[in-house]
């Protein structure tokens, strides 16, 4: 699972959960898969991403080094920042671990890099 995927995931579909975002992330196994950097793509991507959630997730798996707490004013010109963002969103992958709903504590396993977001019928509306 790339952190880009994590950035969109939410457990709001669970019964009684109002936001379910961002999901807490624990990695027991991760890897880095090199992927060609494209500054334009990262620039297009950032407005769709919740940066705070992205940084928190990166931090929780020890990959936040060099990521500022907030996106600076001139971020589009800052290639170093764009490269770091590229790495953390597209290259780092959690292969084994779990996600956790911040409200209900429900855990979702990540196996072979796939987060399993299925829930039992009694857990959903």
């Amino acid at each position: 699972m790339k952190l880009l995927t994590h950035n969109f995931l939410s457990s709001k579909f669970l019964k009684g959960v109002t936001t379910g975002y961002p999901l807490l992330l624990v990695a027991t196994q991760k890897e880095v898969k090199e992927h060609e950097f494209n500054a334009d793509f990262v620039k297009r991507m950032l407005p769709k991403v919740d940066y705070t959630a992205c940084r928190t997730a990166a931090e929780s798996i020890g990959e936040a080094e060099g990521l500022p707490t907030e996106v600076g004013d001139m971020w589009e010109e800052n290639e170093d920042f764009l490269r770091k963002l590229h790495r953390v969103l597209l290259e780092v992958e959690v292969t084994e671990g779990e996600l956790q709903c911040p409200e209900s504590g429900r855990k979702f396993p990540i196996k072979n890099g796939i987060p399993n977001m299925l829930a039992n019928e009694d857990e959903v509306e």
Partner: protein, 567 residues
């Protein structure tokens, strides 16, 4: 020719046999046309044709002189009888027709037997007289492609079953009882038949591909062919691809039992000519009459092919769900589990992108975030530097396949999407919600999808359509089926005759009989042949609700803040 038919020798001087280049079905020349081209030049003894593979034919005349006249007139020309333009015949004299052209894999379906000359000429005439009497009487039925008469029990074409409650058609004609005695004495049948269907086929008529309903009849199906030879095509239900053409000569008896009866479809193509599978000789059909004898089954079918059996072996599953719990169970068995199982083969067959989807994606603003609900093997999640793509699918195996291609995916249920509200600018869901088995669930699925979109976002949702004809033109789906099997439509079935709520097993590439059905997925047999020992394991049934025109629009209309852009 030297490669395909090495035993055929070209002659320097004229002979009575012509090689006709560019005259095969491959070149767009019909068998009718071929005969019409050469007939004017004198008596023809034989025509040798090839349904596939070879672009030529052979024509044998009575005399060298006639062959030479045909050669002189037709060599290097486009014969006027051939409809396809630009076809030019190239002729040569040859000394002999090929000895045998039978392909090596023409092994008969297990349990099928054709007994030649089962009745004498004299008996054939008596049987045809019976038919003539029927034609004058009142016990007459007529289907789109043939005339039928029933004896013993009436056969119901709506449900493909027998009417056990009457009214009963007349008992068997006496001559048939004598024939049945002969079959029983020769131990060709275990059960004495009590139902007879006489079919009268005019040239050009056929019968759609079918398996005789398991529950309606006992094991042996016995059919007498009269008046004309015909070629019957058999196709194995469970492993796709294996098909066998079998010539049924006039006065022969065909016995289908065991695997050939339960696990093979059979059909007769609608055409005027056949090609003898053993000799490749062209056979012109004349009127053909068949007497099919069957024994009505009184006890539940216990065949060895439960997955192919119309009897519901698992009592509550193959019915439309009556509650949400049942719906979940049905979708688990007939959707989720199947995709999990067939994921690898599904991936091999799903690579080209539909043009409509590609256009939708191409028209999205650069920088759009896209969600693909039911992304399958991720064929629309390929890298596109203009778009940020995320997908989800119910199947873990399909997610793994998509993920291995680099896609961002999560395993999720379309009824409970695990993404933040309004996070996406656009969404696609291709061929997904027709797998949901109640209208409520289909509605929830669309609602969930729209919850993922920002205000003003757009979604593209596609489903299978019930109507497979537009402006009287058959869809590609039906055409593909026609090309594959050169079949006629499955004609007489009437969905209203099926028991309510029962899910029919759909015959692929034919018109849909009802909106809710089970569609087989045939997984290709592994090349090592390991699966052949257990043929049913390669067929999987998927639940589909095929949408009638306007139905998807009606669903969308029920969702607040949803505006239909186009359909």
């Amino acid at each position: 020719m030297r490669r395909h038919d090495p035993d055929v020798t070209v002659s320097e001087s004229p002979t009575n046999i012509l090689y006709v280049g560019n005259s095969g079905v491959l070149c767009g020349v019909q068998w009718e046309e071929l005969e019409a081209v050469f007939e004017p030049y004198g008596p023809i003894v034989d025509i040798c044709v090839f349904p596939t593979g070879r672009p030529y034919s052979f024509v044998k005349f009575e005399s060298v002189e006639k062959a030479r006249e045909a050669f002189d007139a037709l060599h290097g020309t486009h014969p006027s009888q051939v409809a396809k333009a630009d076809v030019v015949f190239y002729l040569a004299f040859i000394t002999n027709m090929p000895r045998s052209t039978a392909s090596t894999d023409q092994e008969m379906p297990p349990g099928l037997k054709v007994m030649e000359e089962f009745v004498s000429e004299n008996e054939q005439q008596k049987l045809l007289d019976v038919v003539a009497t029927c034609s004058n009487g009142e016990s007459k039925g007529s289907l789109k492609n043939r005339r039928v008469f029933h004896f013993g029990f009436e056969f119901l074409y709506g449900s493909n079953t027998v009417n056990l409650d009457g009214p009963f058609p007349p008992p068997f004609p006496p001559i048939c009882e004598a024939l049945i005695d002969r079959m029983c004495q020769a131990q060709l049948v275990k059960h004495r038949p009590d139902q007879l269907t006489i079919n009268v086929y005019e040239p050009g008529h056929g019968i759609p591909s079918h398996v005789d309903t398991h529950s309606a009849f006992e094991d042996e199906i016995v059919s007498l062919s009269l008046s004309s030879d015909v070629v019957m095509n058999f196709r194995e239900c469970s492993v796709s691809g294996r098909s066998v053409a079998v010539r049924l000569p006039a006065r022969s008896l065909t016995i289908m039992k065991g695997e050939s009866r339960y696990a093979w479809e059979h059909c007769i193509a609608s055409r005027n000519y056949d090609c003898d599978p053993a000799s490749s000789r062209l056979i012109r059909r004349s009127q053909r009459v068949s007497f099919t004898f069957r024994k009505v089954r009184r006890a539940p079918c216990e065949c060895e092919f439960p997955q192919l059996c119309d009897r519901n072996r698992d009592d509550n599953v193959k019915k439309l769900p009556s509650s949400d719990t049942e719906a979940r169970g049905l979708e688990k068995t007939f959707v989720a589990n199947v995709y999990e199982e067939i994921a690898a083969h599904f991936d091999e067959t799903r690579y080209s992108q539909w043009r409509a989807v590609k256009t939708f994606l191409d028209e999205l603003a650069s920088g759009s975030a896209l969600l693909d609900v039911g992304c399958g093997n991720g064929k629309y999640l390929n890298e596109d530097i203009r778009l940020l793509k995320v997908g989800c699918d119910m199947s873990a195996n399909l997610c793994l396949i998509a993920s291995a291609k680099g896609a961002c995916v999560a395993q999720a249920d379309g009824l409970h999407l695990p993404f933040r509200d309004g996070a996406f600018d656009a969404l696609i869901s291709i061929a997904v919600i027709h797998h949901m088995s109640t209208v409520e669930r289909r509605l929830v699925a669309i609602g969930e999808m729209l919850r993922m979109l920002r205000p003003g976002g757009t979604a593209l949702i596609t489903v299978w359509a019930f109507e497979q004809k537009m402006n009287n033109e058959q869809s590609e789906y039906l055409k593909w089926g026609r090309n594959r099997e050169s079949l006629v439509d499955r004609p007489e079935d009437d969905a209203s005759a099926y028991p309510s709520g029962a899910l029919l097993v759909h015959l692929n590439n034919t018109a849909f009989q009802q909106q809710d059905l089970l569609v087989p997925w045939h997984r290709k047999a592994p090349t090592d042949g390991a699966s052949l020992a257990n043929p049913q394991s390669d067929r999987f049934l998927r639940f589909y609700h095929v949408f009638k025109r306007g139905e998807l629009e009606d669903l969308c209309a029920k969702i607040p803040h949803c505006r239909l852009i186009s359909t």
